[in-house]
């Protein structure tokens, strides 16, 4: 196992300035559930927007850095703005989108239009 060693006066940066949060997409018979990892961001700093059938999640994370060369600094977490877009299929009811944020995870639920949901046809 490799350790991160705390050595005073050293700085390590393994970061990028723009980043894409990882997303899971799960389809059910009623709609889609999108789950994104956006840890360490206040709910208010996350934007969810739907425009012309494209769903965009964006936001910014700002790190508070201490400028002192004598102190230990080690950065891996991305710092800066992120944005991810998803094209919504036509059969999605874009008014139905629900968003919730808990433990650093953003969950979006979109419903399919009534006619797109699986249904059975009765034979007369």
């Amino acid at each position: 196992m490799t350790y991160v060693r705390l050595v005073p006066g050293t700085e390590t940066r393994r970061i990028q300035t723009t980043w894409n949060p990882g997303a899971d997409i799960v389809e059910s018979k009623d709609g889609f559930a999108l789950t994104l990892d956006v840890p360490g961001i206040a709910k208010e700093a996350i934007n969810v927007k739907v425009h012309e059938g494209i769903l965009t999640v964006s936001g910014t994370r700002k790190r508070s850095e201490i400028e002192d060369e004598k102190l230990f600094r080690y950065y891996e977490r991305p710092d800066g703005s992120f944005s991810r877009s998803f094209r919504l299929p036509d059969f999605i009811d874009s008014d139905s989108i629900k968003a919730s944020y808990e433990n650093g995870v953003l969950k979006l639920e979109v419903q399919k239009k009534e006619e797109a949901k699986p249904h059975t046809i009765t034979i007369k």
Binding site: Y3, V4, P8, Y74, R77
Partner: protein, 146 residues
């Protein structure tokens, strides 16, 4: 190109270059081949006047599933992120988030008071505060000039 929400990723199209880049930056690979760790949480470490603060990204993990241990001057953070069980009526279109066991260790040297480590979890980030030892805190000495 935008990912289509409803289009399954086929083996043919495969992951894109962007996926590789995202993946690479997403979780730092674990170098330990002896365990079955599947991901490594990203961390930031900042030292201030009194403490060393470690912030680890652990989104979507219950507090009870996170373990923090200090042994032989090595702080180890471990736990597991469980994947929600797939139901009969659902289908995974795209899974990019990391699941499974994780572990990360930090060699503390003789900088911190290992028995006074405190932890807090908020918005998916675990913050560990490690108070520095007296001798590691810079002291200001005033010398009176007579």
């Amino acid at each position: 190109m935008l990912p289509d929400l409803w289009r399954k990723r086929s083996a043919l199209s495969g992951p894109t270059m962007n996926d590789f880049i995202d993946r690479f930056f997403y979780g730092w690979p674990s170098y330990d081949a002896t365990t079955d760790l599947s991901w490594t949480p990203r961390v930031d470490i900042n030292e201030n006047e009194k403490d060393v603060v470690i912030e680890a990204e652990l989104p979507g993990i219950e507090k009870k599933d996170i373990k923090v241990e200090v042994k032989d001057n090595v702080l180890t953070l471990s736990g597991e992120r469980k994947q929600e069980k797939k139901t009969e009526n659902s289908e995974n279109c795209c899974i990019e988030r990391n699941y499974g066991k994780f572990e990360r260790s930090f060699s503390l040297g003789d900088m911190v008071e290992t028995d006074k480590v405190s932890a807090a979890y908020k918005n998916g980030v675990l913050t560990l505060t490690l108070p520095k030892k007296e001798q590691a805190i810079p002291k200001e000495i005033t010398v009176e000039v007579k």
